[in-house]
């Protein structure tokens, strides 16, 4: 939500005029943005709320939608919509994309103008990112092979599994996407991304072995198991996502598969390191309301960010980016928070889109990470 400072200014002007404000934190449209991926549990969502409040520096109260998105479904809301409701519960204003300027105009007409309205510039709001316990940007993001759709996935949580011992949380969370061919049960591409959840403050323990996964068919419908493994990294640790793009055939549309993932993490505070094995149901159906991994849609909006590198120093800095888009571009893709986009960060923009299709180099079979079919473990 890049327009939070605008909302904050209105909130400060009207909160004492018998108007209440609520931001409704909802499911993430582009998982992976700034390392944030959808919470699996209510406890995780509560921690995300606290992190978001700190990062955005807002004092506007935030509540959460249910994990199933009941509020957004009831409102049939767009990703960043706004509504004004009168004291009796009747809707009096709505807009599909939150716009502080028009909201202020509405409140001025409804409640009255304020003397000396708060200006965004006066708020001096800066995004504050929690300090990661390990470096970012050491593992290059994968180039997506084409337009993909987010799949429905479900973690096997402890209560579901009926385990007696306390299971570790999902430190790394799965984002799975598939192209149209794979969704329709044919041979296509499957993207698997495992993102460390910032709420747990952990990092990968690379010397202990990489991340591996296997996909099996619990219904034994003749699906060949698929396994994959990250390469060996020379650096000891980082917090970058572990990503795979594999050739994939689900056998049939809507197949329900089981994914197992193994990895080792260490706590940022040095309290523990642990190997983890976790399971997901991977359903070959499109998730409602899900868009694409962070980066894909951006290309359509702004094109290649490196084209703004006017002085040729390999960085598209804030000063070089178009004024109207600099904030959103840096907000989403400046992974190391140096107020510039470098080539690695920009790689996220090179995904196949309408604008980049001609230039984009699809991932070829022999370039795929060490994923292979058969075997399993």
């Amino acid at each position: 939500m890049r327009n939070v400072p605008g909302l904050e200014a209105i909130y400060r002007d009207y909160k004492n005029k018998n108007v209440q404000f609520l931001i409704i934190y909802k499911s993430i449209v582009h998982p992976g943005t700034n390392g944030v991926i959808d919470a699996f549990t209510k406890e995780e969502r509560i921690k995300q709320l606290a992190l978001a409040k700190k990062r955005l520096g807002t004092t506007v109260p935030i509540v959460s939608d249910s994990l199933d998105g009941d509020i957004v479904k009831a409102l049939e809301s767009a990703p960043n919509a706004e509504f004004v409701v009168d004291p009796e519960g009747k809707l009096v204003y709505r807009k599909f994309w939150h716009d502080p300027a028009t909201l202020r105009t509405f409140l001025e007409e409804r409640v009255g103008k304020v003397d000396n309205p708060t200006k965004v510039a006066d708020l001096n709001m800066k995004l504050v990112f929690p300090k990661a316990g390990a470096p970012r940007g050491l593992v290059e993001p994968l180039k997506m092979p084409g337009r993909m759709a987010i799949l429905n996935t479900a973690p096997e949580l402890q209560e579901d599994a009926g385990a007696k011992d306390e299971a570790p949380p999902f430190f790394a969370k799965l984002l799975a996407e598939a192209d149209r061919k794979a969704l329709n049960g044919g041979e296509g591409k499957l993207y698997l991304g495992f993102y460390l959840d910032p709420v747990y403050q952990v990092h990968w323990n690379n010397p202990a072995g990489g991340l591996s996964f296997s996909i099996n068919d619990p219904n034994d419908a003749g699906f060949e198991p698929v396994v994959g493994q990250t390469p060996e990294y020379k650096h000891e640790t980082d917090v970058d996502p572990r990503e795979f793009v594999i050739n994939f055939q689900a056998q049939k549309r809507g197949a329900k598969l089981r994914l197992t993932v193994r990895y080792t993490i260490c706590d940022d505070n040095g309290k523990f390191c642990m190997p983890v094995e976790q399971h997901y149901t991977l359903e070959m159906t499109r998730k409602r309301g899900g868009a694409s991994r962070a980066g894909q849609w951006m290309t359509e909006l702004v094109g290649d960010p490196m084209s703004y590198d006017k002085n040729g120093d390999g960085l598209a800095s804030r000063d070089e980016l178009p004024k109207q888009r600099a904030m959103i571009m840096l907000l989403h893709y400046d992974r190391n928070h140096d107020e510039a986009i470098d080539k690695v960060e920009a790689a996220l923009f090179y995904d196949m889109t309408r604008m980049q299709q001609a230039k984009s180099r699809a991932v070829k079979k022999d370039e795929l990470p060490r994923a292979r079919t058969g075997g399993g473990h």
Binding site: V63, E76, A78, A81, F83
Partner: protein
Amino acid sequence: MIYMSRLSLLLVALTLAVPVCAQQSFVERMNQGFRSRSPKAGEMLPDAAGFRADGTPFALKDTRGKLTVLVTGCLT
């Protein structure tokens, strides 16, 4: 000749208009979907539940009694 130059101008105009239209259609499509499905001004806000930052239950109907501004977002 006049006919040809007019045709050329039309083609140039169409070529320039395509990328703009493509971008507008994405936003407009989303806006149209919102306008047709989302509750309209004058209608009662439907009720649905979530939870507050401290974990306690929250429902849209809890906002009654004051003029309320609701903004949805994923706060990334």
